[in-house]
Amino acid sequence: MSDAVTLKFRSATEETPLARWVAIGIAVAGIAVLVFAPLLAVFAEALTRGVGAAIASLANRDAQSAIKLTLIIAAISVPLNAAFGIAAAWFITKFDFRGKAFLITLIDLPFSVSPVVAGLCIVLMFGTNSLVGGWLVASGYPIVFALPGIVLATMFVTFPFVARELIPVMIEQGRAEEEAALTLGASGWRTFRTVTLPNIRWALLYGVLLCNARAMGEFGAVAVVSGKIRGQTATMPITIEMLYNEYLSVAAFSLAALLTLLALVTLLLKTALELRHADQLAATHRA
C-alpha cells in the first residue's frame, strides 16, 4: 500500500475559506444593520403598548380609509403599469426604429425625476388653474386632490419597474421563438399568449412585485397631488407621516408595520412561486 497523498483541489473561481467567511460576514452584517434592524424597530415601536393598542389604532376610521385607498391605488396602477410595461418592452425589443435609445431613456425618466417634481407636474397640468383641470373640475371630475391624481402620480413614479425588468430578458430571447410560432400558423395574439408571455413571466412577476411595493409605498408624488385630506385622499404612507408628526407613535408605527407586512407578503409570494416551479425554472433556464 502506498501512502495516501491527499490533494486538495480548489476551482479557479473559489476563494480561500478566510476570504469567503469575511465576505459572507460583511454581507450578513450589512443586511442586519441596514435592513433587519430598522424593520424590527418598526414592529417593536408599534407594539410598545401591546398588540391590543396596535390593532385598535388600525381599526381607527382614518387608518381604515388609508389602508383601503392604498390597496385601491395599487389595484389600479399596478395592472395598468404591467400592461404598459409589457407593451413598451415589446415595442422596444421587437422592432427596429430610429430614436430607440431615446425612448429607453424616456422610460427611465421617472427614476431620475424627483417624485415631488412629478407630483407638481400633475398639479400644473390638471390643477384647477389649468385649462384641462378647470374644465374637469367644472364637469365634476377633479383629478388633483382626488383618486385619479393619486393614481396618475403613482403610475408615473412606478412606470419603469416592469419595462426595466422585461427589456433585457426580451432582448436576450430575441424573436426566433415568436417567428417559429407564426410559421406554425399561430396568430399574433396566440403567439404572444403562448410564447412571449411564458418566456417573460418570471421577469414580469418580479417587475410587478417591485412596482406593487413602490406603488403602495410612494410618498413624495402622492403627497403633492393628494392634498393630504384625512379620511379621503391620505394614503398609508401619508397617514403614517401625519400621525408621526402628531406624536401618535403607536398609531404611526402600527400602520408602518402593516405597510411593511404587505411588502413582505409580496416577497414571500414570489419566493413561494419560485419554489413551486423550481424544477421547471431549472429546466428552462439551462442552455
Binding site: E177, E179, A180, T183, G185, T194, V195, N199, R286, A287
Partner: protein, 239 residues
C-alpha cells in the same frame, strides 16, 4: 409544390441584401442555397417563408401569386438556424404546437394530435423524448425536434436555415442522410441554406450558388462541379 421567385429584391435601409434574383424550384426538389456569409441566403429563405417581405418582385407557389400571403398562410415548415424550440414546453408540446394553433374547426382531436406527434417522434427516430424540455436535449436531437415540429403542420414546403450549422462534423453527416430520407418520404419541395459546399453538393438535387445578394449559378451538383459559371463559383466549390 413548385416555387417561382420572380425578380425578388430586398433592401435593408441602404444595404441591398438581394439584387433582383429569379429562380424556379421544381416540385419535390431538395434545393441548397449555397454561399458565403452575408450573401443573402437567409434573406431569400425568410422571404419565401413570409417572415420578410421583398422590396420588389413576386413569389409564386404553383403559379399562384403568393407575395402577399401572410406567414401563417404560407404554411411553410421553417427550421431556424438555432432551432428556436419553445423552451418552456416539452418536446411533445413543441411538436403539437402548430396543430393546437389551428382554428377549432380544423383542429384535430387531442387523441389525433397525440397520435401524429408520436408518429413524428418515430420518424425522427427519437420515440422516447416527448416529455423532455429542449434544454435537456443534445444539439442533434434539438435539430430533429425542430424538423418534426415543422413537419407537424403538414407544410406545403420545407425551409431550413443552416439546419446543421450548430453541430459537429460527425453528427452533421448522420443527420444529412436523415434529412434526405425525410425529404424522400414526404416528397415536399425543400430549400436549405448552407455555406458548406460539400454538404450542398452531396445532399441537394439543385444547388443555387449565391454571392453578395446575387445568384452566381443554378444547377445540378455535378454540372456545377463540371462547369462552374463564374470565377467565384470555381473558387468557392474548390475551397
Amino acid at each position: 409544390m413548385h416555387i417561382e421567385i420572380d425578380e425578388i429584391s430586398k433592401q435593408f435601409g441602404t444595404t441591398a441584401a438581394l439584387h433582383p434574383v429569379s429562380l424556379s424550384l421544381p416540385s419535390g426538389a431538395l434545393v441548397a442555397l449555397l454561399g458565403p456569409s452575408g450573401s443573402g441566403k437567409t434573406t431569400l429563405l425568410r422571404i419565401l417563408g413570409g417572415l420578410e417581405f421583398p422590396t420588389s418582385g413576386r413569389v409564386l407557389f404553383d403559379g399562384q401569386d403568393a407575395t402577399g400571403l401572410s406567414v401563417q398562410e404560407r404554411r411553410a415548415g421553417f427550421v431556424f438556424q438555432s432551432y428556436a424550440l419553445f423552451r418552456h414546453m416539452t418536446v411533445f408540446d413543441n411538436i403539437a404546437y402548430g396543430l393546437n394553433a389551428r382554428p377549432r374547426a380544423s383542429r384535430p382531436t387531442k387523441a389525433e394530435i397525440a397520435r401524429r406527434v408520436t408518429k413524428l417522434l418515430d420518424l425522427i427516430q427519437l420515440p422516447d423524448i416527448g416529455a423532455r424540455y429542449p434544454s435537456q436535449l443534445s444539439g442533434g436531437q434539438r435539430q430533429r425536434v425542430a424538423l418534426a415540429r415543422a413537419l407537424a403542420i403538414e407544410p406545403r414546403m420545407m425551409l431550413l436555415d443552416e439546419p446543421f450549422g450548430a453541430l459537429d462534423a460527425k453528427v452533421r453527416k448522420e443527420l444529412r442522410q436523415g434529412l434526405r430520407d425525410i425529404h424522400d418520404t414526404t416528397g415536399l419541395t425543400s430549400v436549405f441554406v448552407t455555406h458548406d459546399q460539400e454538404e450542398a453538393m452531396e445532399l441537394a438535387d439543385l444547388v443555387v450558388v449565391m454571392s453578395m445578394g446575387r445568384i452566381e449559378q443554378i444547377g445540378k451538383p455535378q454540372d456545377i462541379r463540371a462547369r462552374p459559371a463564374t470565377a467565384f463559383v470555381r473558387d468557392f466549390i474548390s475551397a
